[in-house]
């Protein structure tokens, strides 16, 4: 045991033993409460507590906190400990502050003062304690407070090494939390870079982390580090392990420093200077050579340390992507690892190889390992290793091996873990489409995929199948044939029924001459499945029937009978009922020519990025392997054969319009409200959460609105203003049939907004049941006038896939406006008083909507201020007033809106008592009339 002195806090040890001896949770709680009462009393009563006692009690509180209990007192005592001149007391004080106190503490200034005293002291141990505390908490106040002290410590010649190490990482932390408040003097740049050369390897290790972050901020300024990093690296890798004594770890010289230096170099392109470049290549070569040497120790620590450096070297080789010999050697090395006994190495080798597959130099070399990778898929016990194998197969796939790889993945899919099935389905679908030479093969694979994976086939997958069929006239009759065959299976997955139903509705006529699939047979086969399907699918099938009426007039009677049937015509499902009613009516009143026009086959879809790629990216936002494999396939996508993949974010919307063909048929008879519901039964891809980003301006004029909606979630907002405080309610509605879990919502304010708005939200329930809605309430207080809008971030898990949604919260300034009534004298008096240039803003803009007096009045009142009559002599004009409330002040606002019907223009003039407010309000309104 380390020196246990008399002052090693016996009381604490006794307390910990007591807790450990507690037999039950209740007993533990009792013991803790007793202790808390005791400590509280001691702190309150005994003003003469000495440092040792304070330390002991604070330490007990810390222990209780670590057991998971809240601690709401003892802060002052902890802060007192900071000014003690005994190390052990100071240490406990700093520890308490670092672990328990968070940024909201009002003692912040006191703490900062204490830290400053320690940093400026001459005792390096105290300086270090203070720096460690700053590095552990590192909030914005600290960044501002120490923006000079800490960099100075780092570059000063007087500072001892351990302090430099702490200072470097402290600075890194402050740079991360608050890059803008940390202004590094450019004179220091060179001195910071030179820390890479420091004699003390610990200083170099700490510094390289800092430099890595600074390089990311200003690569040009820190360019000099490349040269130094290469030479330092070279000195380490070419040395013998005995040269570094205490920095050698299991016969590997300074492995962590090497890894960090290599990572630092990954920030830059390969060095241009030929001598540096060849030196770097030598380093990489040496590292690869060492991997072939016999192990110097049987201990796993030795091989791990060596391979840590090796993998990082391989990463750098891949990053530089220019030395084909190195790339191929790297690939061979990884190939060896694929067969290694260590699961860790196999996993990492698969992961790195994914990146290698993206390089044109090593793509072929990677392909040699196809068989091993397929074996890994079959035999690995750890699902994350199998996952990497799937990733790699996906990355190494090209036209030459696509058939094999797709086939293997399909085989594996039948037994694959549930957690990776959906992703595998996507990958198979993407590969078979991208590398299809024969689209009949593609269709075979896809139907097989739907048969095997059923539930794991996301909507995008079968939408895409249909898009491909619609766009390729040469496979349409084949598609109809195999879709028909697939339907004949006794048990058919619903997704299969959807695809088959859709395809037959479009192209059933192409196989109708075959006596085995006459119109009546097709219809009857499809109808045997009808009753087993969900309402969505039934709606889709009804559309197919409608199309059958056009394709096969001879079975019209049978179909009308179905439409007329109570289970459809009077279905409790509105969608089905509506379709049945409308389709029936349509079939009765329209002539065959009209029908043929409305029910014409779908036109080809515009070529665009496959929604499958979008979906895959959503599923794995952070896995590098995917992005890189996509880069590698980009040239193929542009080569002209196969569906083109172009990157348009807007495609979702276009597609919806495209899909609107059937919808528009429906809306000729209904009132248009149908559109939203109908699109869900037709191929469209709505589920990209990123696509649903929107800033909604409806909320300008109303106190409730839908602020976000996608396939999974709908979010509504309701706001009730009370002077400077807006009471808000958010409604989260789960649109799916699955639980959404780990739901968390937060509102963030950009830095400028921070002093302008104060937001408080009650916590929200973390699980959202299927089809359920939950409410979150909170308040938004306006501290002063603001321009930027707060952002809302929502994260949750949807069938175990993390989802993140960010959008702008449309809480405009006008939410804090209260209307004011006044007579015309008063109005004009005030108007004239507000005559400074920055108090007025005038905008002249064209009308965007029909110029209706009533609608304008409604909008202006909805905006929050009054609409006063009898003020303006011209009754067409609008005048009104309001008070904009912030917690600090009230701002009077007046407006006048003058429509000019001949010119179809408006003139809006706003005056407000605070500079800037008028122009902001005018901007909000200028495109709204």
């Amino acid at each position: 045991m380390p020196n246990m002195r008399g002052d090693a806090m016996r009381g604490l040890a006794v307390f910990i033993s007591d807790i450990r001896n507690c037999k039950s949770r209740e007993a533990e709680l009792r013991r803790i409460n007793k202790e808390l009462t005791n400590i509280r009393q001691r702190f309150r009563a005994d003003k003469t507590l000495d440092g040792y006692q304070k330390k002991k009690y604070v330490c007990k509180l810390l222990f209780i906190f670590l057991l998971g209990h809240d601690i709401d007192f003892g802060y002052m005592e902890a802060v007192n400990l900071l000014s003690s001149n005994k190390y052990t007391e100071k240490q406990i004080g700093y520890l308490f502050i670092s672990v328990i106190m968070n940024s909201s503490s009002d003692m912040k200034q006191l703490i900062i003062q204490n830290i400053r005293n320690d940093i400026q002291s001459r005792n390096p141990i105290f300086i270090n304690l203070a720096l460690q505390c700053v590095a552990n908490i590192g909030d914005r106040e600290m960044a501002t407070a120490f923006t000079n002290d800490i960099p100075r410590l780092l570059v000063s010649g007087d500072t001892i090494d351990p302090v430099k190490q702490s200072a470097a990482l402290c600075l890194l932390k402050l740079h991360r939390t608050s890059p803008e408040s940390l202004q590094l003097n450019t004179e220091w740049t060179a001195r910071i870079i030179h820390l890479l050369n420091d004699q003390h390897l610990g200083v170099a290790t700490a510094a390289v982390s800092l430099i890595d972050a600074l390089v990311k901020r200003s690569p040009d300024e820190y360019k000099g580090c490349v040269n130094l990093a290469v030479s330092r690296l070279s000195r380490i890798v070419t040395s013998s392990y005995t040269d570094f004594q205490d920095y050698t770890y299991y016969f590997v010289p300074a492995p962590w420093l090497c890894v960090k230096l290599l990572r630092l170099l990954e920030n830059y392109p390969p060095p241009e200077d030929p001598s540096i470049r060849s030196r770097l290549n030598e380093c990489l070569d040496t590292i690869l050579n060492k991997a072939q040497e016999p192990l110097k120790s049987k201990k796993v620590q030795h091989s791990n340390a060596r391979n840590a450096v090796l993998f990082e070297a391989i990463n750098l080789i891949i990053h530089m992507d220019c030395e084909s010999s190195l790339l191929v050697r790297a690939c061979n090395q990884l190939g060896q690892f694929l067969q290694n006994r260590e699961t860790n190495l196999r996993y990492l080798a698969l992961e790195s190889m994914c990146l290698l597959a993206a390089s044109e130099f090593s793509h072929e070399a990677v392909k040699k390992h196809q068989e091993t990778v397929i074996n890994a898929l079959k035999s690995e016990r750890d699902v994350s290793v199998r996952q990497r194998a799937v990733d790699l197969l996906y990355a190494m796939c090209d036209r030459s091996n696509a058939e094999d790889i797709v086939q293997e993945m399909l085989t594996y899919l039948e037994t694959a873990d549930y957690t990776i099935r959906e992703e595998m389905v996507l990958k198979i679908a993407i590969l078979s489409e991208k590398y299809a030479v024969d689209y009949k093969w593609y269709l075979d694979i896809m139907l097989k995929l739907i048969r095997i994976a059923g539930d794991f086939v996301s909507e995008e997958v079968w939408y895409r199948v249909i898009q491909v069929v619609v766009n390729r006239a040469d496979v349409q009759s084949y598609a109809a044939k195999i879709a028909f065959e697939a339907l004949q299976a006794p048990a058919c997955h619903e997704n299969m029924i959807k695809v088959a139903g859709y395809i037959l509705g479009e192209y059933g006529n192409l196989i109708a001459l075959d006596p085995r699939s006459t119109p009546m047979v097709q219809f009857e086969l499809l109808h045997t499945k009808y009753h087993l399907c969900s309402p969505t699918t039934r709606s889709l099938i009804l559309s197919t029937y409608m199309k059958f009426i056009n394709l096969f007039p001879e079975i019209k009677m049978h179909i009308q009978e179905i439409l007329r049937h109570d289970s459809n015509y009077r279905s409790s499902d509105v969608e089905i009922q509506q379709r049945a009613t409308e389709y029936l009516r349509l079939s009765e009143i329209c002539s065959p020519t009209v029908l043929a026009t409305v029910l014409e086959i779908m036109p080809p879809y515009p070529e665009k990025q496959s929604p499958l790629l979008v979906r895959l990216k959503q599923k794995k936002p952070l896995m590098e392997a995917d992005t890189s494999s996509e880069l590698s396939t980009a040239p193929i996508a542009q080569s002209g054969d196969g569906p083109k993949l172009t990157d348009t974010a807007m495609h979702l919307h276009q597609q919806q319009q495209q899909n609107g063909l059937l919808v528009s048929l429906d809306t000729t008879e209904s009132n248009g409200h149908y559109e939203t519901s109908a699109s869900s039964s037709l191929p469209s891809s709505l589920s990209s959460s990123s696509a649903a980003l929107q800033t909604n301006k409806k909320f300008l004029f109303k106190n409730s609105d839908i602020i976000f909606e996608n396939d999974i979630l709908q979010i509504g907002i309701k706001g009730e203003p009370k002077k400077s405080v807006l009471h808000v309610e958010f409604y989260y509605g789960n649109k799916t049939n699955f639980n959404l879990t780990n739901l968390s919502a937060s509102i963030s304010l950009a830095d400028e907004l921070d002093p302008e708005l104060r937001i408080h939200m009650e916590p929200v329930q973390t699980t959202l049941d299927p089809r359920a809605q939950i409410k979150q309430v909170g308040t938004i207080e306006c501290l002063k006038d603001y321009r930027d809008l707060p952002k809302m971030s929502l994260s949750f898990f949807y069938s175990n896939v993390p989802q993140k949604i960010d959008f702008v919260l449309p809480v405009y300034l006008n939410k804090f406006i209260e209307k004011a009534e006044m007579d015309s004298n008063n109005y004009f008096l005030r108007w004239r008083n507000l005559d400074k240039p920055d108090q007025e803003c005038q905008k002249i803009f064209p009308a965007k909507f029909p110029m209706s007096h009533d609608v304008c009045a409604q909008k202006l009142e909805g905006f929050g201020w009054s609409n006063l009559h009898n003020i303006d002599v011209n009754a067409d004009n609008f005048c009104g007033a309001g008070i904009f409330h912030t917690s600090a002040q009230q701002v009077g606002c007046l407006y006048r809106l003058e429509p000019n019907k001949q010119a179809k223009m408006y003139r809006l003039t706003i005056r407000a008592s605070k500079a800037g407010v008028a122009s902001h309000l005018a901007e909000l309104l200028e495109d709204q009339f």
Binding site: L62, T88, D246, P255, N304, S384
Partner: protein, 116 residues
């Protein structure tokens, strides 16, 4: 929130056996962990961080603990939790590696222990 995090990581890591890797994806990060008897040491890293380097950083840390507490056992860590924090701060700071030399860390720790 913190407790929940601990529980989640616990549930994720303890079900894995020796044939599994020492790396497991967690939210948008990776947990690198190593088991010593009944104790798991975990580090959360970015997905593209160097897994093996952090795996060995754990071991380096454990060796220091072992040396410092003379054959460390779980009880040492519980009763001296505040000293464990000192060890952590010597070796890791701001989420990065601060010092890797066991000799240097132990020397510093001995100095600190001798102080009042």
């Amino acid at each position: 929130e913190k407790q929940k995090l601990i529980e989640e990581v616990h549930a994720l890591v303890t079900v894995r056996d020796a044939k599994h890797t020492n790396f497991v994806e967690f939210r948008n990060f990776k947990i690198v962990y190593r088991r010593y008897a009944g104790l798991y040491f975990c580090i959360c890293v970015d997905v593209n961080d160097n897994n093996l380097a952090y795996l060995e950083a754990i071991h380096n840390f454990v060796e220091v603990l072992n040396e410092f507490f003379h054959n460390v056992c779980e009880l040492d860590l519980v009763f001296n939790f505040y000293k464990v924090y000192s060890v952590v701060d010597e070796m890791f700071l701001a989420g990065e590696i601060r010092e890797t030399s066991q000799i240097k860390v132990l020397k510093q720790l001995t100095t600190l222990t001798s102080l009042e």
